[in-house]
């Protein structure tokens, strides 16, 4: 498949890191790779990684697009809390599951719209614009839950967090399907190219007739939608909305997933698949550290060290070095070409 080749080359480093991390963990804990099927459902640490990684993976999908526009969305963790709270409040006050989901998702879309308007129309720097909702959002969520953890028993909503479909946990199905859907949306249409153009040079894109304002708003709306889905999953998982802790610091994990995925924070070229691999790398590290039984105090430090290592390997300097070592072949090839 020639058409696939550039994509595979793009994903190779992330894939290699993921495999390395998984192998390292399985060396210490051979059970890590073990999968077993009970009651038509697959169990095992690997499934766990996919399942626990769902919120960050979902956030990373939207974050990839926002970062590709040369922006950033700090509010996604807070939007998760808001949407989780809305879903819990709606289902406990007796609304149907469909109504509840529609409501929670629209609230996520609205949050994204708010961010998008601040960035695209009022021209506020994205980091400041989304900081507003990051701070205020958790307050809004607390208002909705009235400060308590709002629990619910609706089997339909709980199914989204802990049910299974085709043997896999629902959250896994949701993020994989959503990731594929968004990838197809941006790559089968011209959206991906236009978003990249906007992120690289907004003024030149506007002058070429690209609706840069609409695209920018759409990116933040998508990010809001991703946060809403992640928020619903997080709430359904614990059967309650915890306004204080739902999605806490997950915006940072999402940004990290995008960066570990090799996407530039300066916008432009992006790969959703790479960000998703990034999210899985982060989640594997988390799970591995938990398994290792290190005192919890060490967890964050170990995680940070591994991530620094990954970023160093991906850094432009190291890449330059790699091309420098690989250079002699291509130089010789060029000379040979010349000789002909």
């Amino acid at each position: 498949m020639n058409a696939l080749k550039p994509h595979l080359i793009r994903l190779a480093p992330q894939f290699a890191v993921l495999v390395a991390v998984v192998l390292l963990i399985s060396l210490a804990f051979p059970d890590f790779l073990k999968l077993q099927i009970q009651n038509g459902r697959v169990y095992g640490s690997l499934v766990d990684v996919l399942n626990r990684g769902a919120p960050v993976a979902l956030l990373a999908i939207g974050m990839t697009i926002v970062i590709a526009t040369r922006g950033i969305d700090l509010s996604v963790g807070a939007v998760m809390a808001i949407c989780g709270a809305v879903a819990a409040a709606s289902i406990t006050s007796g609304h149907s599951l469909v109504y509840t989901l529609a409501l929670a998702l629209s609230v996520g879309l609205l949050c994204g719209l708010w961010n998008g308007i601040l960035v695209a129309v009022l021209d506020i720097q994205p980091i400041i614009a989304t900081l507003v909702l990051m701070v205020a959002g958790r307050g809004i969520a607390q208002l909705i839950t009235e400060g308590a953890i709002l629990t619910f028993n609706d089997p339909g909503l709980i199914f989204i967090g802990s049910g299974s479909f085709l043997g896999l946990p629902m959250p896994v199905i949701i993020w994989v399907v959503f990731g594929i859907a968004v990838t197809l949306l941006v790559r089968r249409t011209a959206l991906g190219m236009l978003v990249e153009a906007l992120g690289i040079n907004r003024r030149a894109s506007t002058l070429s007739g690209v609706s840069t304002g609409v695209l920018l708003i759409a990116a933040y709306v998508l990010s809001g939608l991703c946060a809403a889905i992640a928020g619903i999953i997080a709430a359904a998982d614990i059967r309650g909305a915890d306004a204080n802790n739902a999605g806490l610091w997950l915006e940072l994990d999402a940004i990290l997933a995008v960066v570990v995925g090799g996407n530039s924070l300066l916008g432009g070229r992006f790969s959703i698949a790479a960000s998703l691999l990034g999210a899985l790398i982060i989640q594997s590290i988390n799970t591995g550290i938990l398994l290792s039984g290190f005192p919890p105090e060490f967890n964050l430090i170990i995680k940070a060290a591994i991530i620094v290592l990954i970023l160093v390997v991906q850094s432009p300097r190291i890449r330059d070095l790699a091309t420098w070592f690989g250079r002699s072949d291509s130089a010789e090839a060029a000379v040979k070409q010349e000789a002909k």
Binding site: T189, M193, L207, G209, G268, E338
Partner: protein
């Protein structure tokens, strides 16, 4: 090479300050420099010329350490050097000043001059001492400015001089000027040349890169020409006729650089585009403009006279706050680039780095961008169609690139310009606005773009061309609008379109302005 021996023999080896011999530079897939020799003498201004992609910048970058050369010798002042980066080259004595001033606009003039080596007192920056030294330094350049002023408040020309002063003060043996005059007006160029002559008298070796051949003859002693990464020759400027120089650069005879073609008598057809009282406060005074099918309307004026503002308002990049636009007699809204593009407008902006190219995207994507934007996101141009479009225009406009997937930022300026033109031609425009289409591009591309303008106009496209090259403007425009102080002051038609008349119209305005 037969051409380069003559000049070298006249110079004793003591006079050579910088000698590059057999320089090779290979990029993946392309040999950018092939055994290039370059000798720079003390107290000479040496022009380095060539078409876009000839290897001028690559050679300079190998000399300044921005690139590591793959072969050859660099000798500075009798000693072999191998600079690893521009800082090392600077320390060794090679200073460079670029077209885009690479200083910090938010610092003062003095801070810029002494950045990284500020005079210290008790470990703190001694501002008073620094300002005093800055004044002494700039006095040597006949520049009487407030060294405590922010650099961004100074004109580009003054910023250039500050950059030169810093480079000379830091390095002091060789000064490389990479298109320093591209954004200066005639008066500022003269001032800059005064400084160059003085530095030359002090014994500096100066390398001068430019696209303006007049300037080469005005100031340079010797000329080295590169083509396709090879040395064509080094010659005494005084002994090299202009025609021959151009032939060296292009590798072919060009006839005249710009053939003063008989102006195609544009069809005296009906007016297609009529702008009445069009203007925007603070940008451009309301003006009237009529353009016919197949007509080229030139716009002339000094820098800052409102040329670019006129283009932006016609294209909707800035919204007009007065007046109306009519196309084929029907009123048209032109309040955004998108709206203008719907009416089949196109706009090649003056500053292609900021307003034109999308640097990291490929040549193919840059060419397809405007067409794709017009089709909307839901109807992607199939990949095969994009490839066909890109190949077609790369061939038609002779865009020099290894392949269509190369990021456009890696192309040279003239080829970027052609790619932006291709972007608009791909949309089949009927009204094309070209803002300085030939600025900063080499002679060959220059002639090609002018030929293209004439062709487009013959095919019935209406064009507005803004240019500060009056000979050029006169060659293809049927009408020329003259601007001054952000207002349209005069319109020349038919036989009245001559360089003299345009200069007169601009000057008449100047007088009025003074009164």
């Amino acid at each position: 090479m037969p051409g380069n021996t003559l000049a070298e023999n006249t110079l004793g080896s003591d006079d050579i300050i910088l000698s590059a011999t057999g320089i090779d530079k290979v990029f993946p897939g392309a040999k950018a420099l092939n055994k290039v020799n370059f000798q720079l003498a003390r107290g000479e201004v040496h022009a380095l010329l060539g078409e876009n992609g000839a290897g001028k910048s690559t050679l300079v970058k190998c000399i300044t350490g921005a690139y590591r050369r793959d072969g050859g010798r660099l000798v500075l002042d009798g000693a072999d050097i191998d600079p690893r980066d521009t800082f090392e080259a600077q320390r060794l004595g090679i200073g460079t000043v670029y077209q885009e001033v690479n200083l910090l606009p938010n610092l003062t003039v003095a801070e810029n001059l002494f950045l990284g080596r500020q005079p210290k007192r008790f470990g703190l920056v001694d501002s008073r001492e620094m300002n005093r030294r800055a004044e002494t330094l700039l006095a040597g350049y006949d520049l009487d400015i407030d060294v405590k002023a922010e650099l961004s408040n100074c004109s580009v020309a003054v910023q250039q001089v500050v950059a030169i002063a810093r480079a000379v003060d830091l390095s002091g043996k060789v000064l490389i000027l990479d298109e320093p005059t591209a954004s200066l007006d005639a008066h500022e160029v003269e001032m800059l040349f005064g400084i160059v002559r003085r530095l030359k008298a002090q014994g500096l070796g100066i390398v001068f890169i430019t696209h303006f051949l007049e300037q080469v003859y005005a100031i340079c002693d010797r000329i080295t020409v590169l083509r396709n990464g090879q040395l064509v020759g080094t010659r005494e400027a005084a002994a090299l006729p202009r025609r021959e120089l151009i032939a060296m650069m292009l590798g072919r005879e060009l006839g005249d650089e710009i053939k003063a073609v008989a102006r195609t008598e544009a069809a005296e057809g009906p007016v297609r585009y009529r702008f009445t009282g069009f203007g925007r406060k603070g940008h451009i005074e309301p003006f009237d403009l009529e353009v016919r099918k197949g007509e080229v309307v030139g716009i002339a004026g000094l820098l800052g006279s409102g040329r670019t503002e006129t283009a932006e308002i016609l294209f909707g990049a800035e919204k007009a706050d007065s007046g109306t636009a009519e196309i084929d007699g029907k009123p048209a809204e032109l309040n955004s680039p998108r709206a203008a593009i719907r009416h089949r407008f196109g706009f090649c902006p003056e500053d292609r780095k900021i307003d034109g190219i999308v640097g990291d995207l490929s040549v193919r994507e840059n060419i397809a961008l405007a067409l794709q934007a017009r089709r909307g996101w839901a109807r992607p141009i199939p990949r095969a169609e994009q490839d066909r479009l890109a190949d077609q225009y790369i061939k038609a406009l002779d865009i020099r690139t290894t392949d269509r997937e190369k990021p456009i930022r890696l192309l040279s300026g003239g080829n970027q310009q052609k790619a932006i033109l291709a972007r608009w031609l791909a949309t089949n425009p009927e009204f094309l606005i070209l803002d300085e289409p030939t600025r900063g591009i080499d002679v060959g591309a220059h002639a090609e773009i002018i030929r293209l303008i004439e062709n487009l106009c013959e095919q019935g496209m209406s064009l507005i061309v803004i240019s500060s090259e009056l000979d050029e403007l006169v060659a293809y425009s049927r009408r020329v609008i003259v601007l001054r102080d952000r207002a349209h002051v005069s319109e020349l038609v038919g036989d009245a379109v001559t360089t003299d008349h345009i200069v007169e119209a601009i000057a008449a305005g100047e007088k009025q302005g003074a009164a």
